[in-house]
Symmetry: C2
Subunit: 437 residues, 2 copies
Amino acid sequence: MILFEKITILPSAYESAIEDAYLLVGDDGKIAYLGTEKPECEGAEVVSGRRRALIPGLINAHTHLPMTVFRGYGEGCELHEWLNRYIFPAEAKMDRKTVGICTDIALAEVLASGTTSVTDMYNIEPAVAERVAESGIKGNLCRALTSFASPDGFEWSGERADDAALEAAELYERFHGYDNGRIKVDAAIHAEYTSGPYLWQKVEAFAAEHGLGVHLHLSETKSEHEECIGRWGMTPAALFEKYGVLDHKANCAHCVWTTPEDHAILARHGATAVHNPVSNLKLASGFAPIVEMEKAGVNVALGTDGVSSNNSHDMFEEIKLAAIMHKAVALDPTLVPVETAFAMATLNGAKAQGRENECGRLAVGFDADMALIDLDSPHLYPIHSLLSNLVFAARGSDVERTYVRGRELYRRGEWRTLDVERARYDMEHYVFPKIWG
Amino acid sequence: MILFEKITILPSAYESAIEDAYLLVGDDGKIAYLGTEKPECEGAEVVSGRRRALIPGLINAHTHLPMTVFRGYGEGCELHEWLNRYIFPAEAKMDRKTVGICTDIALAEVLASGTTSVTDMYNIEPAVAERVAESGIKGNLCRALTSFASPDGFEWSGERADDAALEAAELYERFHGYDNGRIKVDAAIHAEYTSGPYLWQKVEAFAAEHGLGVHLHLSETKSEHEECIGRWGMTPAALFEKYGVLDHKANCAHCVWTTPEDHAILARHGATAVHNPVSNLKLASGFAPIVEMEKAGVNVALGTDGVSSNNSHDMFEEIKLAAIMHKAVALDPTLVPVETAFAMATLNGAKAQGRENECGRLAVGFDADMALIDLDSPHLYPIHSLLSNLVFAARGSDVERTYVRGRELYRRGEWRTLDVERARYDMEHYVFPKIWG
């Protein structure tokens, strides 16, 4: 049991902060008490709340964890050149060990900035899952499947179909439901422009058979969106609706060029649009119409995307940018209020992951997925509104401790389940020689 | 003397980082040596450079330091309502002591995030200058003058003309050139929409008489820009050119709605446009055309603006946002390369302040205005490009120490010249009752 005493608690994006409150975490990792009276809790570890706030752990609803190895690699050129000249050739050399090491660096960064659950898509995802399992964080994980049509029918790109399908199957069998649902596995289509009908049908059937969500990239760039219309006579959203893909709690990353009709489709199917503001600006993708999506009833979550296009996993940056950039696009300072921006990184992320009854807010019976914020810094002072300070002034480094299911995974530069020095050593002595040696 | 040994040094935005280098600070506060050989330096304090980098101190070229008291105050409404209902009535209650206390909180935040020089504009600026003088930071300071035409001629708004003019004169006399130029005083016009020809002429004459720069807000919002054209038949830039204001190393904050003709005017006069990306987005002002300005030859610096419209003084946020947002506006990922973004916060800021021969880069003979960056965090690892990591992944909290003229003013949560606890106490016991009590 852990008792936080005399602390400020922000239960959720839409509730007021409570001063001098108490929060008790039970031995089952769930919140046993939240209120202003000191609860019975003999033997509990006590954490003093002086100049501290407890907030719901942040949920990063779209990333590619192992891409930490590409932080700052081959930047400043056109997207096509960057991918084909730098990223794809390097990725082709990654193996299980490489993916695991790069994931450890990512998880260290993620936990240190208050994120308690991630949605990840990559190749060799079982190696990501092994690290997520070991680290104690929550994850919705998927193996990104790609395919290209070739003259003699159907072919996988840069990998054998069997291997990718086997990885997806391995991921599902070993990790779906792992540790009482701490890890969930999603089905995944990388994107329309990297796949075709055969794959879409296979993935749809896989999701239907096992009751999985589907994760995919959707209308990230103008050319991707327009070329899809050229190829199929409809937008990516309409196309995936047609193939039944959106029937499975779809998590659609980016949605920068989606139309009002697309938003109606996404809302109708209960899909989530994952907004990645930093990545969208850095890669020159554009400004996602999230205000319109929210009005249309689409669940909008937030993600960092891989650090190669960010270059950080700090969700506080995404929250702030999501809160400010749409104001400038529409010249309207009332858009995306702080509650909305913070909800995207908490409540909406939980919904995107099918965890809305489990996390995304602090309430009795919910998992104690939480970040302890150190308010004792001039940049967080004074506090007219805790939520405003969290959205506009806080950064990942203000996180003092991170808990998942009541387990402290990070405290001020120390990780309980990760060996960061070892990961750095392995990065230099195994990953770098493997990819660039 | 201080010797940094075996450290990574980024001499400037346009130079490569040097590994395992040495930097020696002389007793005069200037850089005495920078290179890869260990210099003679008996008796010097030695700072180990393991997993550390020395970079030029950042220059915040536009802010309103005392507005820390309004961090998160009265947000989420229209600009006009926010100013008239919340900010202006509160500002009217501020006195010298209030301004000084709020400035201390700001300076603590500024120094902790690696900023070594600020350009500040506010009311009761002599009280700001006292704190800047005491703190050891560099500052270009100005008293924002405003005026409005009234039926019976000329009148100052919300303050007596004499008081404001006296403050500007006091600021100049007490602080211009203070501590061998550590503080400089600029003449200042708040903005076109808050002043008139009488004031412009007075300020121009004041700048000319004393050889001062002029600081002002320029074309921050669409309505401000268009209403000026309606009133005067020309843009704010053309108007201030006509009144000679731009002849004095003008520092023009925002420039969001400036035209190609305006950029030619600014370039012709050697003026600086100070880009405030976070503030421009948060206040829904728009996207400043800095790519066009740079092409036209305008010096573009960076600022945070006051924290009430940000809500932080972290220049790393401005650098990152300046580097990414213009890519998305033009759908071109090659715009605003990392060198350009970092130069805005260093070399260009120094030029804006008339300090280009004094700081903005690390070189022998320049002042040792520097930030020591702690690279020992997963979010700054690996390092394919130090500059890319600084621009896209670093944040103010990665600053371990901040030096101005070789004097350590900040080290890891401790300030050498500021009493932050005292400022907090005074904020609660003096400022809050004074403004809202």
